[in-house]
Symmetry: C2
Subunit: 345 residues, 2 copies
Amino acid sequence: MALPSEMKALLLIGDGYTKTPSAGVLEAMEPYLRPGTIAVPAPGPTQALIKVSLAPINPSDIVFIKGQYGQPRVKGRPAGFEGVGIVVATGDDPYAKSLAGKRVAFATGVSNWGSWSEYAVAEAASCIPLLDTVRDEDAAAMIVNPLTALAMFDIVKQEGEKAFIMTAGASQLCKLIIGLANEEGFRPIVTVRRDEQMPLLKELGVAHVLNENAADFEAALREVLNAEQPRIFLDAVTGPLASAIFSAMPKRSRWIVYGRLDVEPTVIREPGQLIFQHKRIEGFWLAEWMRAFRDRIGPAVLAAQKRFSDGRWSTDVTAVVPLDEAMVKLPAELAKPNGKVFIKP
Amino acid sequence: MALPSEMKALLLIGDGYTKTPSAGVLEAMEPYLRPGTIAVPAPGPTQALIKVSLAPINPSDIVFIKGQYGQPRVKGRPAGFEGVGIVVATGDDPYAKSLAGKRVAFATGVSNWGSWSEYAVAEAASCIPLLDTVRDEDAAAMIVNPLTALAMFDIVKQEGEKAFIMTAGASQLCKLIIGLANEEGFRPIVTVRRDEQMPLLKELGVAHVLNENAADFEAALREVLNAEQPRIFLDAVTGPLASAIFSAMPKRSRWIVYGRLDVEPTVIREPGQLIFQHKRIEGFWLAEWMRAFRDRIGPAVLAAQKRFSDGRWSTDVTAVVPLDEAMVKLPAELAKPNGKVFIKP
């Protein structure tokens, strides 16, 4: 197949990191991205060039394009951390060549050539040949969220307590974790921001769902935490909500921050709990986990494919936005709750 | 020796815990303690009754009498976590009996019969027969601070980086840690609140001393941390000072809270550092360490006695206050910097 010399993409405006903190929501595209046409890149020896079919917008993408992720931006390069597509060219490395023509899920973190583009570059080692039974909508978001879900649920299992608590409970990531938890008899407690999200989460099988904006939230929170005694807190939000939850948790609790949706100050309400109750505060970053547990990536990805194939996991789709319309439509689509937004080049 | 039936003591006014946070300084005695006369207690089977020679006021005592320690107050009992004295009666347990007549350093945590009293009760296992070469002033404060110093410096050594940072650098505890650090070629960085404390700490051999109230404190802090790259932060203060230090520390830093001298809110300035820089926040409590590392207590105590005997360690004495004058004099003596205050029954 002859490749074009140029391609359309959403290109990064900023370079490196920012020092200006901002919330995890994408209030507008223009400060961070511009539509552009650039040369189709050539894959390096160990890389694959992928014609992108579908690419998701993950919360980590928003953090990245704003310059607040753990990896610097390269100005003028396409954004987008993962996607699904067909391998149309490869480097000379034998494993890379073995991927030619295959439909793959891919992650672009190492290559720095993103998926919000007609063509993307990924390390062959970050490309996963797909089972035919996996839909594009599931395959496009099959690395970041599913691996994060499996890795963080492992932390819950290692802790041993059946109950655990999560903020941003209606996110795709939390829904994946709720699925894992139900199968193994664990009891997820989740917080959401809207009453209308509560019935859906109860249907999914959470033990408790609390609306953080309810007038009696803190009282309800304390009652649930006293009854369930969760020791792990998986937190995508930070700020006053997370402070309140951590403060109400029992001895030996661990507050594990993996997102920063709220930019309000994050206060340790009672530092004495760190001393006398052995509570701890730490973070989770998938890239770090992948470096530390390389041998667990393959089995985790296979587990994810099986789950998406047999319907135990399923990606809720809010919208599929053509690349040409992304600048106009993305912020409004992302503001809708409960599902994932995709870009279709 | 015939024992009296009654004794003078400083008795706890509060019971259990408080919900009102307050600073680590003792602004007045009256809300927390009253002078009183109570029956001399009888030691239990595994306990010793000690005629107290000298008892220190530690920061943990202040936290305890205010009801903010990890152990509940018992109203009407004497306060005071440690001291030195002569064993004048024991229970029937053979080890307890072996202590009769001996001069011991003792800790009262488990017995709940404190040392700010003419007689105190301690578990025999918490009594340490003393070498004659150890002064009363060193022996009286030989458990809480020395064991905390040895245990926390172990954390520094395990981390491996030669540089580490401490708040409240002029405290007795920090001076003990500075002594340990110098012997093993480590580089302590400390913060203090007054310029006049700086020459003393430089003489003791710290790598850097910073005045937290200096106009250029944050700039100086960043310069020192960039140069030294400390990964361990031993913090007795919390609040804005500790927030600033943790935020400026390098990747993989650990903020270890062991005191709460400042009651201002403790903010995690950049929660993203927990995610992308693998920073962590935790606590240290000596009681917890002693439960976890029982077999290290004996050697640590012996090491402490040797250090005090040969002058490598020495307790700076601000004042020795007679028990009868403690209500009037203690707050003003405790407000003086650089040394330890003792009660003499």
